[in-house]
Amino acid sequence: MMSIVPILWWIPALPVLAAGLIALLRQRQRALAQTLAIGAMGASLLLSLVAFLHVWANVRRAMPTLEIVNFNWLQIGDTWLRLGWMLDPLSALMLVMVSLVSLLVFLYSTGYMEHDENATRFFCFLALFAGAMLGVVIANSLLLLFLCWELVGVTSYFLIGFWYAKPSAAAAAKKAFIVTRIGDLGLFLGMVWLQTRTGTLLFYDHGAGCMEHAALARLSVAAAASIAVLIFCGAAGKSGQFPLHVWLPDAMEGPTPVSALIHAATMVAAGVFLVARVYPLMSVHPVNLLHSSAMPPTLALQVITWVGAATAIIAAAIAVAQNDIKRILAYSTISQLGYMMLGLGVGGVVVGIFHLLTHAFFKALLFLGAGSVIHGCDGEQDIRRMGGLSKAMPVTFATYAAGMLALCGFPLVFSGFWSKDAILHAAHLWSLSQIPFWLGSAGALLTAFYMTRQVCYVFAGAYRGALDKSAVGHGAPPAAGPHESPAVMTLPLIVLAIFAIALGWLGTPAWEWLQSFLQGQPAELHWAALASAGLLGTMLLSSTLVFAGLGLGWWLYGRRPAQHAAAPDVLEQQWPHIFTALGNGFHVDAFYAATVVRPFAAACALSDWLDRCVWSGAVRAVAAGTQLLARAEVWTDARVVNAGFDAGCQGVTRGGQFLALLQNGRVQRYLRVLTLALIVLAVVLLWRMRG
């Protein structure tokens, strides 16, 4: 049997090729573009499945699960800079997840973007994104990963700004790109530093890669920690972690399938994936290369843990006070990404990736459901102007509810429960502090609460929207009231809903298939593991919190649904100040505007001033000085040199004229003078001879 590994590169290459072809199509060749994109994505999914089965077979036969292909890229002196791709359980899982979600979103988009004139371009970017994301997943080189990573970023930029005529969309796209680029600069620096210290950027290279012992052993403690934190900067930017999360809510300006695919399921999870990929570096104690739990967590992991926990609780709190259906989900995504980071920090790759996978499905489901709702309400996104949609859109409601319960972590049935529980359990066992655990738990309560609030607003009660409202932004023709979306949109919802429920069963404490798979071991069934004391406690606690959140949400919002769109929120009536602060995302944007954006603008103005006034000024001063000298010279010439010469000449002339008076041409006068002189001479001589 031919191995899948040498042709693995086709998985990202197919969508990229499709994107290239679509770019050459004309605007109206929409059907062809969709076919190309979906066909390429389907082929990628098939190849991904083959790759996955290949890895699984290796796992079951207890063979080595890591396979790599490296190749020369460019030559620096006598050494080659090499890139490569890899297939291991992590990338196999991610391949399947990314290509499956992408395919579903592509399908969904054919319905959602039906009325958009630029659908061809949309599929071009979407396919390019999928290719780049798959590239991130299989890259065996930090450089190649960074390459695809930035490509992912730029497609995200284009897709956020897809409705470029809207100034807010264009601004949001720019903001997303720049904020993530700030993080990427850290990643770039970390990458360069890593290359300097280890001499390679290949993750695995038969013992010589930078994630392998030989290279890690060469790092000093400080270098390892700094590089790891710098790389985490990139991950934090991409995954919307706390100080750099501001771009993600604004990114909701993009079409909803984009939000589902890029800003919920895949791209934002790339940061988490990156941390998982370089986990050996993150967790290494370079001195003795021990990974044992006896050592305290490394600095990098501590940073990841704290940032993750803070993000989880802050974003969840902000989500409580949002009114835009997509912004609620955006903050929810940030919060969940925080959980993933927390999981990576306290529990390792398995915990974080488990939540990444389950979240990808249920959050994609929620976003697509939200898209279906928006589509059904003719572009309306404000939950206060929805309501009662459960009757109009039954399929959407059912699947959305499944997604919502998965996100809340409804016990035992839904996938979110198992993955979130794994994180909380790991946080509970963390050796340094219990605070991340309590932050996470509080976040779980808030999650259940804000999702209940949203669902009650959207689906319960009566429809509060204006029926004659024309479409905003999305281009759907106005219709009479909310309506169910076409099958091409609901079908992906149903598929995703199934995954949102079932995926959790792959990683329950009783049957840790996922965990074993990632570690390359066959899984076994231990029912008894469920009953272990610590685990049971955590499960009980999180279940209680979930029920409390659901109940509180229902009691506040579901019992008496708001009657009209302008009715103030229940919480707003109670604590208006807190609610406003939360609604504005703790004013982080305003804070950045004051502390970063405006000083930067001032610095730019200063730099421009320097350019115009100082540097150019110096040149102008030199020029002016030269001109001044020239003028002075002209003046000296005219007034001093020339005038002096003239005056001298005149003096000589006048002297001549005076002397000329003596020579008047009259002989007698000469003689008289001569005689006089003679007489004087005679007198003088006589006078002298006297004595």
Partner: protein, 103 residues
Amino acid sequence: MNPLTGYLLLAALLFSIGLAGVLTRRSAILMLVGMELMLNAANLNLIAFWRYGPNPAAMTGVLFALFSIGVAAAEAAVGLGLLVAVARRVRTTDVDQMDAMRG
């Protein structure tokens, strides 16, 4: 009183008359006449100093005088010639008019 003194006084008087003529007369011809007078005053002196000098036997004074008279004659001839040429050009003999050499 030595007879020489008388000759010398006469010669001095003659010279003074000649000089005054040269310096004051407007006419170029009269200036020449003045000059001749001064020359002859000098000749008179030469003769007088010879006659009453320490060695009258030698004929030095006479020779000087004769020579001087010859020179005076030549000078008068040249001077008059020049004068005629100038007078032809400026149509006058008034020396005050002959100032073409002024600066």
